[in-house]
Chain length 391, copies 2
Amino acid sequence: MTTSQGRRKPIVPVRAVEKRGSDGQTDGKLGGAGLDGTARTRTQRPKRSPTMQDIADAAGVSQSTVSRILTGSHVAIPINPATRERVLEAARRMRYRPNPLARGLRGSRTMLLGVIVREITDPFFAGAVDAISGEASKRGYNVVLGHAHGNTTEAIALRAVLETRHCDAIILVGDTSDQPLLLKDLHETNVTVVGAWQGSSSLGGVTTVNVDNRAGVCALMDHLLDLGHTRIAFIGGRFAAGSPLGDIQQRLLAFSGRLTERGVQIPESYVVEAQNNLGSGADAFEALMRLPEPPTAVVASTDVLALGALHGACRMNLSVPGAVSIAGFDDLPEAEYSNPPLTTVRQPIAEMAAVAVRAAIDESDHETQPIVEMLSPKLIIRSSTGPVPAR
Amino acid sequence: MTTSQGRRKPIVPVRAVEKRGSDGQTDGKLGGAGLDGTARTRTQRPKRSPTMQDIADAAGVSQSTVSRILTGSHVAIPINPATRERVLEAARRMRYRPNPLARGLRGSRTMLLGVIVREITDPFFAGAVDAISGEASKRGYNVVLGHAHGNTTEAIALRAVLETRHCDAIILVGDTSDQPLLLKDLHETNVTVVGAWQGSSSLGGVTTVNVDNRAGVCALMDHLLDLGHTRIAFIGGRFAAGSPLGDIQQRLLAFSGRLTERGVQIPESYVVEAQNNLGSGADAFEALMRLPEPPTAVVASTDVLALGALHGACRMNLSVPGAVSIAGFDDLPEAEYSNPPLTTVRQPIAEMAAVAVRAAIDESDHETQPIVEMLSPKLIIRSSTGPVPAR
DNA sequence: CTGAAAGCGCTAACAC
DNA sequence: GTGTTAGCGCTTTCAG
């Protein structure tokens, strides 16, 4: 198809404005039907949104004047109130909408924040996106969700990034180090990048906001150890490419580290992997409890896993925390409504989102030193943990 | 060009390309120097992404040729293989990325699908977004998430829409009839709109894909009635502005309808409202069970509510389904892992997403008759429902 | 096969 | 105060 005009819908030149000299040729080429809306009124699709020029024509001023007025240089540039009103009226009447593409192309900001997230169905990340999006809209920004889509090939993630270039900044939510090209690509592009919940995987030279996984897990371990537990197991989730992702890795490290610091030894079989979903958590838990010497407490690296473990306990008819204590990490809304309510580590999601968004916006606006923030989580003790069961 | 040197802007004579007179101003904005990376290597922010013109210069061809080659008219337009290779090589070397803004401005597609959703933290909608996003990326589209953000004022939703105008099409996920301006606005814009999970609220003249709420609820009611239940209660969720939203309303209607059809009467107090979250579901359930004549079965309008009800039963020490049967709607992943596993109605999310995405893309591409699809859900019987308890 | 040129809708100098 | 003008990076005629 040399001319390529087969594929798109006809662009119908509705107006009779002579300024647009191309109408004549255009219609010969693209036309076909409904050239001026007379032949076909069926749907209103071919209706162009009005442009500034349209408003200008209607108000009898120049397009740049319209721009000045509509652009909101409210105070900066003095404008005749009469003119302003005339233009505003016309804009209102014609339902003018600024074209963000054109605006963006011209170099000004697009007020779009890209957010790339591994898995939107992970309730934790859903919450994170929610927080970020809320924070963003507070500042007049919208959010473009680039879905790394877990299992999907890097290619897709890549494309998502490329096409996302019209964002003022991009926030990377969750560890994506298993998709190295993604990061690399982000770097090559000249958009601002901010990382959030990256855990151990460092985004060299990039502003990053993380939760202090170590502190959280240590607090939890101390809680458990102080309850008298020594046979403590760990369920790690969100593994990919054979090794745990950022946050999880840090949590595992802290888990082992604290155990060692407190002089407690556990068998290797006490550390198990799992996909980060309920079923996998339940299975991992059951496997753990079927060990010859089962643990008396299980630390799950995420609440989803802990919730799954809770379900596993139900299935095995094991009372929690009577027979075994279970704890998680994240403090999902669900954690409070599980049976029993879950002891967990609460992440400061809102604060982290605020920091990330602020950094992203600031940094996209002007040169800034990359910062690395680490916010503190908080141990939330509910009733899924208790003293070591008497043998 | 004659005029270009009339301007007295400080033109930084870095490159030898005369075409770009504007570099001078640009760098004023972005940070002083570093037009080509020589003057400042500290950060790479001020680095412009290469444009087609840059590639053209590098490859010694015209910009339009570059466009033809890079645009992917792979076979259509005959291009000298040598030229093509030279251009591709240059593009690769300079890490060329197309600018979607410019592309979009020019009128071609942006390959962006807007998705507007009430609440991303609602697990059902998270799943829906996931499905849509997956389906979209299969077709090379990316997804822009417009967050209606539940409680937020319409203004924000509106803005989200306005700024979303650069999408090829917009998919409205979930009933947004409580934000009438949103819809109205969407209509005025000339983007394609497709509705999904709109329930009762009709999007006049707009392609819509819904689940057959009536069929789902009826199947569920028949299941319950056949088990001998006659005292069946209903927990409605996702209320807003005083009346239930689309899907919920249909489910409630079907609930009452089926009861009437089968000659069963229930007291008014058996229909209660709730926010669509776990806590609210638990509370509603408890209120129901504390009625003088409590129901023997509770139908929740969503799984979230049903899960909450399950938790309420736990809190009240009520065995399910021994003392009371509980059922939901949606079939969230969690439904299978609750205790006991939840009887529910499974929505064909993937199929619906596929239909919606396909319709959105098709319709944005060419004139199309709006269609209204209604897919059938499926009753999933698990163990949260059982025979009426012997009195 | 390739180049020149005309804009897409908007912003921002720069006149007057 | 307001109009003119020159593009942002790209697609797409129209001429060779």
